[in-house]
Symmetry: C2
Subunit: 297 residues, 2 copies
Amino acid sequence: MLSKERFNEIMQAESNLVGCELESLMALEGEKRQHVLTEAMAYSLLAGGKRIRPILTRAFCRACGGDDGLAMPFACALEMIHNFSLIHDDLPCMDDDELRRGRPTNHVVFGEDIAVLAGDGLLNMAFETALKNARTPAHITVEALKILAECTGVYGMLGGQVIDLQSEGKSVDMDTLLTMHRLKTGALIRAAALMGCTVAGASAQQICGAEAYAKGIGLTFQIIDDILDVTSSTEELGKPVGSDAENQKTTFVTLLGVEEARRQAQMHTEAAVEALQAFGGDEFLETLAYSLLNRKK
Amino acid sequence: MLSKERFNEIMQAESNLVGCELESLMALEGEKRQHVLTEAMAYSLLAGGKRIRPILTRAFCRACGGDDGLAMPFACALEMIHNFSLIHDDLPCMDDDELRRGRPTNHVVFGEDIAVLAGDGLLNMAFETALKNARTPAHITVEALKILAECTGVYGMLGGQVIDLQSEGKSVDMDTLLTMHRLKTGALIRAAALMGCTVAGASAQQICGAEAYAKGIGLTFQIIDDILDVTSSTEELGKPVGSDAENQKTTFVTLLGVEEARRQAQMHTEAAVEALQAFGGDEFLETLAYSLLNRKK
């Protein structure tokens, strides 16, 4: 385990590095007429956020002995996919959220039409930026982007969003809840870990370890999200709390209660850390797992 | 020039081939829970349509002496991008259209939330399907998908849609109109031609020819669209006519009048056919250009 100070230092440095790279990718030139579209894309993409997915991609690349600079184009692509999904998720016809990271959501600022196109733009740009900036051999680029597309699609994040929409106002069972989260939030975390491994030319054993780690922290992340929605405040989180109860959503808390949910999150975190044995252990990824378990926002 | 019968025969055969391939790509297995998403994606993608873009990709591949089977994954990807854009374009917050190809639009059938996700799903699946099914060398796959992403993005189709949205209810000048169409409809036609060339390993001269052909038929296509909107009927077109006037849109017809618009379309078609010299001429592509000029729907 890293000390809290050392861990925060690395997280800050990594987050800055990813943020700078995203800023330079978004500094698009040319036609002024489309300016509002790039502005809307940048508004969400450059709003901060924890950058956990790109940081994971880079960390898994290092854990496999790879050059994390080679992982950067895929790390950035993943962050674009994540932000596209947030913009569309917040739309009035979806979750209808007006606040995200303490700021008005994309459609509140730019209008629904531009927000739809800004999400589309980020999804497309994820592939464009990775294809254009990758310095990996072409067959590695293709493999990494297969992972990205698969984890984003019908049997990944988008599929999870559909299950989420269809579960609204209904009580669902644990199996459905687990499937939904495995896809909706878990799939991109899985993509993060696996793309990092792919860039570094990981062994089969390492890929299994990365899958298990991603599964463990993905579930932890979601369980803690559900817990914070009932125990935190809007100021602390930067987004409204109590929205799950308001939308009559089934969550890990409604199914298990806060205490049991927290116990299971602890268990998933330990499984994630255990899986790091495939890499001979990794202090940063170990500390990251515990930080997600113990996060307050 | 091919005879009308021979041309229609090839178009029908090509359209069937593409349609069959798209059907097999959409026959997704696994989780039942996301079924509504794949159903919504298939509803639009498999609704017919002229399949002009994928047919162009395959035809340019053949014109450069390539194997059009190798172009198929990129041809299908392009058709997915085209259909994603139609679904989002029809949304209430965009053009708010309720009829497309003689059937209710996606959001009318599946609801706005699923329609947004179905569009997202097709955009993502375009890349996924090409990455997974390409039998081209990896560096060719990467090159072809760079073209696809670039022509779809901010400086391609999506950028054109933004200019379109911002021009609504305003009168715009010819320069803006040309830029909008070069991007909104022209970019994907350009992608179609260039991806076919890339798969076949075309010469620089052939690529220039493909660009010029795409530009010529793209403008022709749009000018004829504008003309049909004032001269055709809803029954004939399968979509409402007179919508441009209703939305006070500037079109080639409002700027030039029907006669001059038709004359310019003729001119663009001739430029497109001229550009086929780079391929030693191509009867199918020549006939296709004239058929777009003379189309009644």
